[in-house]
């Protein structure tokens, strides 16, 4: 019987946010790549919230862009509202968030994929892994096709054996009623991969025509837009923005929930998967925080050409009639019509401690995992992993060292290190507090941190790289000049300082010292700085931050130095922890399970003490 048989360098399974980045990276680096999706209509789909970015997630997107990923460019093309969160806080926690036109976002990404060389798109359900002697050889589809490849990247999202649940209604589908992938996880299990079950949820979508917005608070976008992509300027992407709306639950809403909590599938035990604590359903919030008499709910448009409105903060798996009752108890939603019900979704995923920091499976050479499959949650977390898995699949095929970002280089490094080092028992979400060196890992300097690496990988072209190098040079030169330029206490300077409510000078000071004063800035001291040249805003921003926060930044740099020392001490792959006498039992078990790549990673495993690390160091020294 004739069958379809094709050969590729790289197979990517799943065309969500992880899969798109993985496939684009692989194809752009010149490898023949095929991207499978269960439905061509769900490429880069956003099945939950209609936005990209937000606290710490915005950082991930900026970093991804600096490395040559697509998400930042795609959201810049398709956003309908943009906001810099925490703008009044320190620069480390400024976070960009944009509302997306979901349909537009998805179509645009699909178009980009379709027009990328070396990339083939294919609608099919991948049902089987071809593994031979612990090496991946390719995949088979449910329709019988065989696709041989040198590396395979799994980005299956929430589709594996997915079940969507509300009340006692259980649909064996993926998100939005799309077909689930019911075969692949069995094949993975056969290949020795451990499978677990996670859960997440999404709120209802409402009909805009039936909402009384006069009862809600309007939430507008920012006047000044900061693009996600470092390749764009504000002018490039400026457009009319749409609003979101804020409303609240109330005591009646909470009573309805309490009265019906026994009809929740979580309560009845229908749902088995572990859900995230940071994204609780409204019923979780009401039961867990009984003192709160209201919760904020954001009504957000799903796009410009649709009446569907997303209910941020209101995910639920209560039965349909309860959903109606609780939503209609809210001000402005008394007459609302639900277009899509809220639901919880359960899916198969892996434990990421089975992966190396390159995102390659430890026990199956050439097989990579990214996104929700790895136990993360969020579009941005998925995209970041997808990019790294795609890059490292290419490195594998080319026989090169993998690209691994560490915790001092990027949120992406923090994300992946956490996933592969710490056992997480709920979907993992990025947060700025997870980054030890967050003053260094700012969204504004993602390009300074990562463009060199992106360029070396080959995803940043020469034009962009030259522009970047120029920016870096301008920052360095101007910062240097400000540190070296002294001003004395002459009458011009003193009266300038007085006018700006700043103490006058007793001895000479450098311009940098003046900029460091809270009431002054690079822009403000222009009248007393005659030698300055015209500089772009992003350059000025870097100058201000690096001077104003110099002390803190210096402190974190010193911590990073310590951190790097341990990261550099590699642990050989073939280490036998059984032979390391004097390790405590718990430490030995954890080390055998996680098999850290270096001493730094080992020291972050819970249950491994400093004494165990000492023992390990001595053992390694002995072996040399």
């Amino acid at each position: 019987m004739p069958v379809v048989e094709e050969y590729y360098d790289i197979v990517v399974v799943g065309a969500g946010h992880a899969g798109c980045e993985a496939a684009l990276a692989a194809a752009r680096l010149g490898l023949n790549t095929i991207l499978f999706t269960i439905s061509m209509d769900s490429v880069a789909m956003m099945p939950c919230n209609p936005n990209i970015g937000g606290s710490s997630k915005g950082h991930l997107v900026r970093e991804l862009d600096a490395l040559g990923g697509e998400m930042g460019k795609n959201i810049d093309k398709t956003y309908i509202q943009s906001k810099m969160l925490n703008a009044s806080k320190g620069p480390a926690v400024h976070s960009l968030r944009a509302q997306a036109d979901k349909g537009h976002y998805s179509r645009n990404m699909k178009y980009t994929l379709e027009n990328t060389d070396h990339l083939t798109l294919r609608q099919a359900e991948v049902s089987e892994l071809i593994v031979y002697e612990n090496e991946i050889k390719g995949v088979k589809t449910f329709s019988g096709g065989t696709y041989y490849a040198k590396a395979v990247v799994l980005c299956t999202g929430t589709y594996l054996k997915a079940r969507c649940i509300y009340g006692d209604v259980v649909n064996h589908t993926g998100p939005n009623g799309l077909m689930a992938a019911n075969h692949l996880s069995d094949s993975m299990r056969d290949a020795g991969i451990g499978i677990r079950r996670f859960k997440t949820g999404t709120p209802a979508r409402l009909d805009k025509k039936t909402i009384d917005f006069s009862q809600m608070e309007e939430q507008k976008g920012d006047e000044h837009i900061v693009p996600f992509s470092f390749t764009n300027t504000e002018e490039d992407i400026k457009r009319e923005q749409v609003s979101c709306w804020l409303c609240y639950t109330n005591e009646e809403t909470h009573n309805i929930i309490r009265e019906n909590i026994d009809r929740s599938p979580l309560f009845s035990g229908v749902i088995e998967g572990t859900g995230p604590r940071y994204c609780p359903s409204i019923e979780d919030k009401v039961m867990k925080f009984p003192d709160k008499n209201r919760h904020q709910i954001f009504i957000e448009p799903e796009g410009e050409y649709t009446n569907e409105m997303y209910m941020g903060g209101m995910s639920s798996s209560l039965p349909e009639d309860v959903q109606y009752k609780m939503i209609r108890s809210m001000k402005g939603l008394e007459n609302v019509r639900i277009i899509r019900n809220a639901y919880a979704i359960e899916y198969d995923c892996i434990s990421a401690i089975d992966l190396k920091p390159s995102l390659e499976f430890k026990r199956i050479s050439g097989l990579f995992g990214a996104g929700q499959l790895n136990g993360s949650s969020g579009y941005e977390e998925a995209a970041a992993q997808g990019l790294m898995a795609g890059i490292n699949a290419v490195m594998k095929v080319k026989g090169k060292e993998p690209v691994i970002l560490d915790r001092s280089q990027a949120y992406i490094g923090v994300l992946i290190d956490d996933l592969v080092t710490k056992e997480t028992f709920e979907p993992y979400r990025m947060m700025t507090s997870r980054a030890e060196y967050r003053l260094l890992l700012r969204q504004d300097n993602a390009d300074l941190r990562l463009t060199d690496i992106g360029h070396e990988i080959g995803l940043i072209d020469e034009n962009r790289y030259e522009a970047f190098c120029l920016k870096r040079k301008l920052i360095e030169e101007e910062t240097q000049r400000l540190h070296n330029t002294q001003v004395g206490g002459n009458s011009k300077i003193q009266s300038f300082l007085e006018e700006n409510g700043s103490t006058t000078l007793k001895t000479a000071a450098t311009l940098a010292e003046l900029i460091r004063r809270p009431e002054l800035s690079y822009e403000k001291i222009a009248p007393i700085d005659d030698d300055r040249k015209e500089l772009p805003n992003d350059v000025i921003e870097q100058i201000n931050i690096s001077i104003k926060y110099e002390g803190y930044i210096e402190r974190q740099n010193m911590q990073v130095e310590q951190f790097k020392k341990l990261e550099k001490r590699k642990i050989p792959d073939d280490i036998h922890y059984e032979d390391v006498s004097n390790l405590r039992k718990e430490a030995r078990q954890k080390l055998m399970l996680i098999r850290p790549e270096n001493i730094g990673q080992a020291s972050r495993i819970s249950g491994v003490s400093p004494a165990d690390i000492s023992v390990l160091l001595i053992y390694l020294k002995m072996k040399k």
Partner: protein, 459 residues
Amino acid sequence: MFKEDTICAIATGMGNAGIGIIRISGSNAVDIAEKVFFPIRDNIKVAEMKSYTAAYGTICDGENIVDEGILLLMRAPHTYTCEDVCELQCHGGMVVMRKVMEAVVKAGARTAEPGEFTKRAFLNGRIDLSQAESVMDLIHAKNEFAVKSSLMQLRGDLKNVVENLRETILYNVAFIESALDDPEHYSLEGYPQKLRAIVDKLVTNVDNLLITFDNGKVLSEGIKTVIVGKPNAGKSSLLNMFLGEDRAIVTDIAGTTRDVLEEVVNINGIMLNIVDTAGIRETSDVVEKIGVDKALDYVDNADLILYVVDSSVPIDDNDMQIIARISGKNVVIILNKSDLETKVDKMLINSYISGDIVEISATTGEGRNELYQLLNHMFFEGKLSYNDQLYITNTRHKNELMATRNSLTKVLESIDMGMEEDFFSIDLMDAYEHLGLIIGETARDDLADKIFKEFCMGK
């Protein structure tokens, strides 16, 4: 976390030896020595001293002269650790050595982990491979011991105080982080001033702990224990049993009292400071009365009273006087001379005074294990604890407390400078981690857990 910075430790025993040595090793050893040691002769500069030379001078902690002594400087790689090593030889004795240690720590060194000098020697190739196994054994054993003894000190109140401080810090960091993570949900409006008051109070609490440390360091580290009983009941035999048996004399503390011998013994890891008193009885003899008063003084301040009863003779008036003085306190009744015929009824004694009764023979050692078990049991039941006040006698703890204070002060500075809120959590987290080292907890994931637990997040 494991670090490769400059470390220091007291290299000699903590007893009252004539000379004490504080050893410093690491790339900053010479810098640190220069900050604390000032040669008497002007022409000697510490930084320029040749390897294996010594200088005489004063050892200072900031402005204060702590001691005078000798600096022996050895440069890498020809040293025990193959790093720069400085040894400060000062006067012996706990108080002086601790002060020198404090000065060295303030100048930038870190208190060494158990076995860390040896470990560095090994890692730098100074010790040959055959010794490696024993080094690992050493680190392992010493760490086990350190964990144990550190937890011993941390029973009860101190641990609670530290945990409460951490809880307050973590809650506030979690609040800040929740607001940063979900700014549309939680507002930090007006929060800095609130936090200022909270951190002020934290600093006061840390200061109080530091003060108890300063009081505590001249005192012994054990449980204040007094042996009482009428003359010839066998008090001294009991003390000798403790001492002879375990070779457990850690040190005899001089200075606190001149006329009463105070011994420190270690019973299965529990430190007892034992005072043997003169017999307690009514007396008109002026000299004897001073002794009795002193004994009563000890009784009043003791954490544990070992009441020795001669079981070969019936309870008499003298016993009744003693019982009157000690009843209501933490008493263990020891029926000594169990090798002889018993003339004392246990029920009868317990009708006068409550407390566990153990029968021993201090001369033959019979019943000794039962006594030890009882003490052990009382300790873990919490009936027995180290001193009423929170004496933090461990230098490491004090260092961590000082570091905590330092971080908290930075938070106050940031608030006063009008820094943005996210800067507060960096220093608060540092304080949290320093406190964690005192109670042996290092996990950083606490924060995420706290955020999810206390604050309602969510899209």
